[in-house]
């Protein structure tokens, strides 16, 4: 994740994510072909995709998928081409009807909905973004962005006002009257995103939205999406086959193969504990620096100075531990900064009695939060001689991370390479 987790000053809270599951997928199957139910009834259901195809001619799109996605989560579906990612995302909104199983969203069973109910539900719950944008070439950018509202019969004035606002959010102000054909790929996808956001949907479905873009534009769009998500806190289901994209964006990742989910977990779990060879292959060129967080490798500070105990005690403590400097905290365990032995000695040289270590002898240092990934700490450790303090949202010192620790945890363990 971008640099937003590096804070010199503890800033205000990230919004807290609610914990209720918003999308619940239960035993979901999709078989394409003639009489697909037959495949599920027989013992073929245990067979692999190829076998089913050879015996019946049916194509297994999804096999017994179970997932639970919480509100506000950025959920990634990943897997090779043909693994069933699009099928799954299309089933959620019922652009494809599942063969068996259910999709439950906000407690409502989408698979059981009648035609009219389904239309209403799609209108108020979903926004969808497509790989090739899916824009309407005969409508202007503004009309495209307003399309979802038009479907809902929102009056023209209101429709355009809202669409204008979302176009501004995605950075397309001034392009309203152009046609999509005259825009670059990245900009067309912004229109797609604006169209999806204009409805203010609870759930955003994105099927490889950035796959068609140049690497640079792609990275830029990813950064912007991260930023947007910080603000909007939507539930996002996002398909990609790019691991780096998945690690950068995802809160959780499900990895699919031949219609099955083979592993599901946080980016860190996926990269550090791949469930099988398939996943291993996926993540092999993933740097742990991109997934390991400061919180996962920090250790308690060995030497800690307490501001209220005064410079004399502090200096003694430093000397007895053979240290030149250490972190200073206040009574609430809040990090104040680093105090050096020289500056403490200077204070004492004056001969006066000083009750508390004064702020003037403490140097503030850059801090990180527990969620900061190691990669984002590289710039800090290159400019900073001290270990990096990890603080929580209130500025309390949770632990420290040393340069050695960072490098130790990102170099692959012995044997992993050849094993």
């Amino acid at each position: 994740m971008a640099e937003r987790n590096i804070r010199n000053q503890p800033s205000e809270d990230l919004p807290v994510r609610k914990d209720e599951p918003q999308v619940l997928i239960k035993d979901l199957w999709k078989v394409f072909g003639r009489d697909p139910k037959r495949v599920l009834k027989s013992d073929l259901r245990e067979k692999s995709k190829e076998e089913i195809q050879k015996k019946t001619g049916c194509i297994l799109g999804m096999k017994n998928i179970n997932l639970s996605i919480k509100k506000g989560q950025f959920y990634i579906l990943m897997g090779l081409s043909g693994s069933g990612k699009s099928t799954l995302i299309r089933n959620i909104i019922r652009l494809v009807n599942p063969t068996a199983g259910s999709v439950i969203i906000n407690g409502q069973n989408v698979t059981k909905m009648s035609g009219e109910q389904l239309l209403q539900f799609r209108r108020k719950t979903f926004g969808m973004v497509f790989q090739h944008y899916g824009l309407l070439p005969h409508l202007t950018v503004l009309d495209n962005a307003a399309y979802g509202l038009k479907v809902r019969d929102v009056p023209k004035g209101e429709r355009y006002a809202k669409a204008m606002r979302t176009l501004e959010t995605v950075g397309l102000k001034g392009w309203e009257d152009y046609y999509p054909g005259s825009l670059s790929g990245g900009m067309q996808q912004r229109v797609g995103l604006a169209r999806a956001l204009a409805n203010d949907p609870e759930i955003l479905l994105m099927d490889e939205p950035f796959s068609g873009l140049d690497p640079l534009i792609r990275r830029q769009m990813q950064d912007e999406l991260v930023e947007l998500q910080e603000k909007l806190q939507k539930t996002i289901i996002f398909v990609t086959h790019d691991l780096h994209e998945a690690l950068k964006l995802g809160d959780r990742i499900a990895i699919m193969r031949n219609g099955e989910v083979v592993q599901e977990g946080t980016p860190e779990e996926i990269v550090t504990q791949p469930a099988d060879e398939y996943v291993q292959e996926f993540v092999q060129d993933a740097s742990p620096a991109k997934v390991l967080t400061a919180g996962s490798i920090m250790e308690p500070a060995k030497v800690l100075l307490y501001a209220w105990e005064g410079p004399k005690t502090a200096l003694t403590l430093l000397l007895s531990n053979k240290r030149k400097a250490a972190f200073v905290v206040d009574k609430n365990h809040k990090l104040l900064g680093v105090a050096k032995d020289e500056s403490l000695a200077k204070l004492l040289d004056k001969g006066e009695y000083i009750e508390k270590i004064p702020q003037s002898s403490i140097r503030t240092v850059p801090t990180v939060s527990e969620n900061t990934i190691l990669e984002d700490m590289f710039s800090i450790i290159t400019h900073n001689p001290y270990p990096v303090p990890v603080v929580n949202d209130d500025g309390r010192l949770m632990g420290v991370v040393t340069t050695d620790q960072i490098f130790e945890s990102i170099t692959p363990a012995e044997g992993d390479e050849n094993g």
């Binding site: 652009l95 539900f121 309407l136 005969h138 399309y147 169209r195």
Partner: protein
């Protein structure tokens, strides 16, 4: 030569004749009603074209050539060509032919576009219609004239009936293909926002299929023009009849003039309808 055994005799011709007979006795009123509607429409078009004087119509076509085809030169050429028809003395007959063509196209589109939409929506409809359309297009056009004659007698109506049957397949086909090849994601986007099938049709499928549908309209129009000439054989007045008369009298020059007039109409109609398919 080895004779084909006579025992194997599938009496298709007899069956069809019997079917025709049945239709004629039982659905007489039905065909009368259809004939009446067709006649009213074609008469209305004819009235318009015969009412419009040449010195208004020619500049109108010139203007259409300029604005629609996009070049002022086309407009000038169209006007000169029409003046040529007038100079042959075929102005009135050309107008009658034109009315017949336009009325036939009108009915063809009225039937063809909805059928094409239906065909695009259902694979079953497509698999039923496809062979019928193939048959309609490969059947020699004369064959339609006979039943048309039996249903409606002589005159404009059977000519138009045969024309419609002959000319409708391209617009059905191309509407179907046009809708089926619309960008899948555009359709899904519309559906994902909760659009009803009707909204999907009018917001996405028809606008995106428009170029293809317009190619269908163009082809249908050209086929209608070709068939209308055949229609003269069963009594539809127009340029085709002039050709027939010239043939029977072996008057090469006159036949050529009438034929050239038909070609001129074809060129102008083709360029103008073609321009619809090119614009966005």
């Amino acid at each position: 030569m080895v004779e084909f055994p006579e025992m194997i005799d599938i009496p298709l011709a007899k069956a069809i004749d019997a079917g025709m007979e049945w239709l004629l006795t039982h659905l007489d009123g039905f065909f009368d009603a259809i004939g009446f509607v067709i006649l009213q429409v074609v008469n209305a078009f004819e009235a318009v074209f015969l009412f419009l004087p040449w010195f208004i119509l020619i500049p109108l076509v010139g203007l259409a050539g300029w604005k629609l085809v996009g070049k002022w030169k086309s407009g000038i050429v169209f006007m000169l060509l029409l003046i040529l028809i007038g100079s042959f003395g075929y102005w009135e007959l050309a107008m009658r032919t034109l009315a017949l063509v336009i009325a036939s196209v009108f009915f063809s589109l009225l039937m063809g576009i909805p059928l094409g939409i239906q065909m695009a929506r259902s694979d079953r409809t497509q698999s039923i219609l496809q062979p019928i359309l193939d048959a309609m297009q490969t059947m020699p056009s004369f064959v339609y004239l006979i039943p048309a004659l039996m249903f409606f007698g002589m005159g404009k109506v059977p000519a138009m009936f045969a024309t419609i049957i002959y000319a409708v397949p391209p617009v059905i086909r191309l509407t179907n293909v046009g809708i089926r090849t619309v960008d899948r994601e555009a359709v899904e986007a519309s559906q994902a926002f909760g659009a009803t099938p009707r909204q999907v049709l009018f917001d996405v499928q028809l606008p995106l299929a428009k170029p293809s549908i317009m190619v269908g309209v163009n082809q249908t129009t050209m086929m209608a023009l070709a068939m209308v000439v055949m229609g003269s054989m069963i009594g539809a007045k127009g340029l085709g009849m002039e050709v027939l008369i010239a043939i029977s009298r072996i008057e090469v020059g006159q036949g050529f003039e009438a034929g050239l007039s038909i070609v001129i109409l074809a060129i102008i109609i083709d360029r103008i309808t073609h321009s619809f398919s090119e614009k966005k």
